[in-house]
């Protein structure tokens, strides 16, 4: 059984359209939204009243009775999250803290203990067909990675197959989502923007040695041949080309998965699922 992650590099190419269509086709398993900055999959799948679990990160708590203001913790913090002024106890910038534990380790006074702050929520719902999990980053919190890890840890105990709507871009959140997957679907559009971002996303996925395939969305707008040539060059198969459809765009604007309104999307969805099963068998 597999975990399939849908990513795109460039935002707005149809990543959530593909993920919601895959979810609509599945009769069992778990559907996971790891675009924790802007989680939209639950809107399209019409998830109502999920159960909430808070996600915390570890931060240092300074015992001001014990602290002598030596500044060793601030000197050793790689993230600039501890700032020392004069002989006062250091100020903790919770947002910049990565929770690595170095400050606690280096403190000669044992004046630093672990504490926790909330950085997001897991929203969980058991529907008729599958489980749904959404990671949701608290607004103003800079680091989405711990929320992604918490959602994946939860998902490990839930049924497979699993479909993941990944974060955009190609930086650390995308890597965190993709590295625990068995297969990656890259959704692109045949514009220079789409191609440029597809190249970066494909490079990341190939570095992680995860099998991947491409879906070209709005394939009639732009220059499909260039995208096809690129995929051939890097040896990634193209599973579907979906032309622009006003019907799909309007339905999606109202929060309806393309699978539910367009036969081409249904065929593409089953092609993807068939391909993944074949590659992983």
């Amino acid at each position: 059984m597999f975990r399939l992650t849908v990513v795109s590099g460039k935002g707005g190419t149809g990543k959530t359209c593909v993920a919601s269509s895959l979810a609509s086709a599945l009769q069992e398993g778990t559907i996971i939204d790891l675009d924790v900055d802007e989680p939209d999959l639950g809107l399209v799948l019409n998830i109502q009243n999920p159960e909430k679990e808070s996600i915390y990160k570890v931060i240092p708590k300074i015992d001001i009775q014990r602290c002598i203001g030596c500044g060793i913790c601030a000197d050793n913090c790689a993230f600039g999250a501890l700032n020392q002024f004069g002989m006062n106890p250091p100020l903790v910038n919770e947002k910049l803290c990565h929770g690595c534990g170095v400050c606690e380790y280096v403190c000669p006074q044992k004046a630093i203990k672990e504490s926790q702050i909330k950085i997001g929520d897991l929203n969980i719902k058991h529907t008729k067909n599958w489980w749904f999990i959404e990671g949701r980053l608290t607004i103003g919190e800079p680091n989405p990675v711990p929320v992604i890890h918490a959602a994946l840890e939860k998902a490990n105990s839930l049924p497979f197959p699993q479909i993941v709507d990944g974060p955009p871009g190609t930086a650390c959140p995308m890597v965190a989502a993709v590295e625990q997957s068995h297969f990656v679907v890259l959704v692109t559009e045949p514009t220079p923007f789409g191609l440029s971002d597809l190249a970066l996303a494909a490079e990341t996925v190939q570095e992680l040695r995860i099998p991947a395939a491409v879906v070209i969305n709005r394939s009639d707008l732009g220059n499909k041949e260039e995208t096809e040539a690129f995929c051939k060059k890097i040896n990634i198969p193209i599973l579907a080309c979906l032309p622009f459809s006003k019907k799909v765009a309007h339905a999606y604007a109202e929060g309806i998965a393309p699978f539910c309104v367009d036969q081409r999307w249904q065929e593409a969805t089953y092609t993807i699922l068939g391909h993944v099963k074949e590659v992983l068998s």
Binding site: D37, E38, N76, P168, G169, A201, L221, E254
Partner: protein
């Protein structure tokens, strides 16, 4: 003179942020500096065609290098690492660089001093001349961390140039989302401009972006792109703009010719006419009213 900095963001990706920014660059030609801080998926350079006269290397973090001659396989580093970035394997200790956050804890706890923390190139950034004026842009290498730091670095560079050469305005193409790179792009900006679309997810993402802007105390102005996608969602977004007291810059309907222009790597100025001129005029008025 302190330059004003307009950061164009979107929350949701694919709403047309970079298309709109490129057209604004054309309208602000020679009157502003331009900067693309969407460092993990940069696209503005594809339309502005900078010559990239100056290039710079970016290294924001350090990662461990393990000297296998000194290592006695005690595993103290493995036990300390909270990111599962160091593993003990049959042939020694190895670090998984894509998991490492660069805290340096492994090097500190190693009793044999077998680990050193070294910086390396995580990305590049450039200053290039374009026919519209200078463009600063960057690219984080695939799968890298620290995008926020690279965003901050670019903003500092462009700001210094603006102060030095008396540019009154900086136009920034921002990253999607609301986390590290978006926070880094918006902190201290004069004005945030959100390019959104009338869809259920467009509205949801805009509200989260709006909350981020208000927590950072950056005023927000909104452009509604692909405005004819849904009448209901269009009305909902207009309501929210009023409720939240955001500025409204204008609407643009969906036009396939925008995609055609981008596909020929051209600024879609004609395709966004005449709405973009109205948006430009409204934006200019808002900028002029902001006191620094």
């Amino acid at each position: 003179m302190i330059p004003k900095e307009i950061v164009v963001v979107s929350g949701k990706g694919g709403t047309g942020k970079t298309s709109v920014v490129s057209a604004l660059c054309a309208l602000f030609s020679k009157k502003a500096l331009f900067c693309d801080v969407d460092v993990d998926a940069p696209n503005l350079q594809l339309l502005l065609h900078p010559n990239d006269g100056q290039s710079f290397s970016f290294s924001g973090r350090k990662v461990p290098e393990i000297d296998s001659n000194l290592c006695n396989l005690c595993g103290a580093c493995v036990n300390f690492c909270r990111f599962d970035a160091i593993k003990k394997e049959i042939n020694g200790i190895t670090s998984l660089l894509w998991k490492c956050e660069g805290c340096g804890g492994c090097a500190l706890v190693c009793p044999k001093n077998a680990i050193t923390m070294n910086s390396y190139e995580q990305g590049q950034y450039w200053r290039g001349e374009t026919s519209l004026g200078p463009l600063w842009h960057a690219r984080l290498h695939a799968g890298e961390e620290n995008s926020g730091m690279l965003v901050a670095k670019l903003r500092r560079e462009v700001r210094q140039e603006a102060i030095k050469n008396n540019y009154p305005l900086i136009i920034v193409d921002g990253p999607p989302g609301i986390s590290c790179p978006a926070i880094s792009a918006l902190t201290g900006a004069t004005l945030a401009v959100a390019v959104t679309e009338p869809s259920l997810s467009g509205l949801h993402d805009l509200l989260r972006l709006g909350d981020l802007c208000s927590s950072l105390e950056v005023p927000l102005a909104v452009i509604l792109n692909k405005a004819d996608l849904s009448e209901i969602r269009n009305a909902e977004i207009q309501d929210q703009i009023k409720n939240k007291n955001w500025q409204f810059l204008g609407s643009i309907p969906f036009r396939p010719s925008v995609v055609e222009a981008i596909s020929s790597e051209e600024i879609p100025l004609d395709s966004l006419h005449p709405e973009i001129e109205t948006i430009y005029t409204n934006l200019l008025q808002i900028i002029n009213n902001i006191k620094m």
